[in-house]
Symmetry: C2
DNA sequence: AGATTGACGTTTACGACGTAAACAGGCGGG
DNA sequence: CCCGCCTGTTTACGTCGTAAACGTCAATCT
């Protein structure tokens, strides 16, 4: 259900091709042997993408790399730090995305648009990692998911200030923008996860999904089942940009 | 830093009093002995609130109840189900909140306002539980965090339809509303968690938080450190309600 | 009343986990 | 030739979730 004529979602990994640029740069990646922090983190990302964070253990990740669990400890202090490294590495893919700009060379709206889609591409490429990006405690209160680095925060604030925002408005924009991204993308990856995993239980009318007590829900179920996430993302982003534009207009030069 | 004359946040648990209505109803809760699923779930919520999900083990929860770990299995199928039960129980606190209405007796905007603040109160009362509410896989794709029940979904849709929204618009509103709530509240509890836990590292200029490479950030740091979450929640909610009002105006009677 | 049953908590046990510590091999510089 | 160091392995410990067997006591039945 829920497919008509629709252009494909350009943020989806399979349509964008290039199956797996996992890390943005570095030496040409030697063959099998020679462990290395980058290779460990890359393997962990791959493993989580494939099996979910719950299945990730040091022993299994070791096996995935053809090595004993304890070998990983030469490159990573422990499991928790490994996961922190995974989160950081995945977000660092933004630097390798040619459609995302670190500087707002075409205005702040273009900057926010590109950045939003870049983060969305990451979320959709690593749906099992994104909840970690959202929930790992940031290193400082002003570092917010899903942009978790000082560098992106600096880049964001510079883009807004360069676009004419007052200092205070730039900060407000930062908070509104991260809220929007996090909320939308968390729900999108969560929803996509549900559609895939309970493939075994094929719609039998179990006692739980008897909708007879919920007449409105039953009536709207076809609408609810339609997947409009891409359009809704665009729409909400557009709305946010307009809201920020109003904010800009109301505080310009007043440098609150 | 970051406190001036400000009225206290009415969604904060300590200002609202009534320290811990954990479950909305049931028999008057017998004294010490007599285990019971409600008591197990209540103890688990308490435990997570106090120590975080990472510390929750069956043995420790048993000890917290004066019982061996295996006794819990009479009331809960296993640890994962226990956590599912915690999530459900915490969200069920909404039913016990007198300021949240299951029916939109004063219009849809009032309904959405009350519901939003009710969910926010829950998030702030259980900041360690809220990420679980956000990340546990829902039982169906149209059940979205943070409202995770058919009953609230039905209630929501009825409120919107009763307010004049078309079926399609009601669904759009549902998705926009849940995104907003989830994004804002995830960031709010995440931020609050960071302020509290690294109390041991008292602001020494370590190599990591040297902001000399980030001039804009350094300049805006005082603004970034200010906690305006309550006002921003209100502001974003207001904005969403206006957006939905526009949606209502544009589709009224057209019953798309 | 005494026997029976069922509910409920405990004990024991197993395999998997994260990780500390000791160990082993191989390779480059003296 | 030997001596470190770099890197992966082995061994070991305490903790985890949970299956299975067991104990105990109160309610029920004859």
């Amino acid at each position: 259900m829920a497919d008509r004529y629709e252009e494909p979602d350009p943020d989806l990994p399979e349509v964008r091709g290039g199956a797996g640029i996992v890390l943005p740069a570095g030496p040409p990646a030697t063959g099998r042997p020679g462990l290395d922090r980058r290779r460990v983190l890359g393997a962990a990302i791959e493993f989580i993408d494939e099996h979910g964070i719950g299945e990730l253990t040091m022993r299994r990740l070791g096996a995935h790399l053809g090595v004993e669990a304890m070998a990983l400890y030469r490159y990573v202090p422990g499991r928790e730090s490994l996961i922190d490294g995974v989160v950081e590495s995945v977000m660092d893919e933004l630097y390798g995305d040619p459609d995302v700009l670190l500087e707002a060379t075409h205005g702040w709206q273009d900057y926010l648009q590109r950045l939003a889609h870049g983060v969305r591409r990451i979320a959709l490429a690593h749906p099992e990692v994104f909840p970690l990006i959202a929930t790992r405690p940031p290193s400082a209160p002003w570092i917010r998911p899903p942009l978790r680095s000082l560098r992106w925060l600096e880049s964001f604030l510079q883009a807004m200030v360069a676009g004419g925002f007052s200092d205070a408005s730039a900060v407000v924009a930062y908070r509104a923008y991260t809220s929007f991204l996090l909320g939308h993308l968390m729900l999108e990856v969560s929803q996509r996860g549900v559609q895939i995993s309970p493939a075994d239980a094929p719609e039998g009318v179990g006692p739980a999904d008897d909708l007879s007590d919920y007449p409105t829900l039953r009536r709207l179920k076809p609408l609810l089942s339609q997947d409009e996430t891409a359009a809704e993302f665009e729409e909400s982003l557009e709305n946010l940009l307009e809201r920020l534009d109003r904010l800009l207009a109301s505080t310009r030069r007043r440098q609150d």
